[in-house]
Point group: C2
Chain length 185, copies 2
Amino acid sequence: MALRHVILTLLEAGPASGYDLQKAFETEVGYFWSASHQQVYRDLGKLADAGLVRFSVVPQSGKPDRKVYELTEAGRAALLAWIESPVPPRKLHDEFMVRLMAGELVGSVALRSILRDQMALRGARLAEYRTIEARHFGGVDPASLPMMQRLALMRLRLGIRGEEAWLDWAQELDSVLDAPDSPPS
Amino acid sequence: MALRHVILTLLEAGPASGYDLQKAFETEVGYFWSASHQQVYRDLGKLADAGLVRFSVVPQSGKPDRKVYELTEAGRAALLAWIESPVPPRKLHDEFMVRLMAGELVGSVALRSILRDQMALRGARLAEYRTIEARHFGGVDPASLPMMQRLALMRLRLGIRGEEAWLDWAQELDSVLDAPDSPPS
DNA sequence: TATCTCATGTAAGTGGTTACATGATTGC
DNA sequence: GCAATCATGTAACCACTTACATGAGATA
């Protein structure tokens, strides 16, 4: 159900089309929420049916018409109520961990290469995040920023810390895999 | 699709009933995969249809019969092939982050209390993980353990590091929220 | 000439959640 | 007497993915 609330949140920041929202999922909100354009369009329809958003059609020359959505009063109220509702426990689905477990049981030799692949991938992501941080915020103290940018920076930093922690751990795992196996006593 | 492979992995470790598997999802594998008993039973059925697992019915006195599942050769082969298949990029869905963003836009006063709640929750989880670590592994060097326990410990440590990183970040956020807001220049 | 971007959607399938259902045994 | 544990499942619904579809203008 939360995707609807993410959409409401994005619309609270200003009117937008389905296309605009989908772009947001690929960029700013991408490091804490993802959604495909099909989901976005469908949920916009559902939200409109429920009276939480309304839209106006903006014709364009040469391009398809834009449907620009905005929050209704009911939508704003629903969003406000949701913010303070309890956060459901998130459930984890970490395929990499499963492969690690499976690889060990099956006696696969490929554990190392899977680990290295994953490290490269996440290292690249971390570098990307750091670039964004440097370009947009350039080593500034978060407390000195207006609240909006301050929280945007903090959201980015969570992504950075998460990747750092993962890479630290992966490094430890990599070295620990080197040690010879001793039979269980 | 990955749930089926998690089940195959658990069965590779030894025969088990649906009930046993579901217990595993609540304990050992709980910090990297979750599944409800309905999912487990349904997917066991699908796996049996596909010939990747087989089961034998074990009657019990006073309790319902157990259906004890085990891997077939085809199942083991499928698992092996899967381990080295590329890991699809995991998608994030962090409700807490969305609330933070929404709360700011709407001007909610409740941000602080949401943050504190979440910190308490994750702090408790971290404490739990550390207790398990101390009880099962008692400060031992992972490299000295047989491979199986070694990886079990490393899986647990990923959970620990993840919670630690989150709490560090939350602490920073908490203090950063104190600073007065300055209007965007 | 071909691909990318803008901009919208439908249809079919899979994955996951919630609620319902049964029934004996063990511990409070 | 009541709840929890053991052990299995079905049915209905909701969320999400993959594939298909259109069509003009911009860029390589």
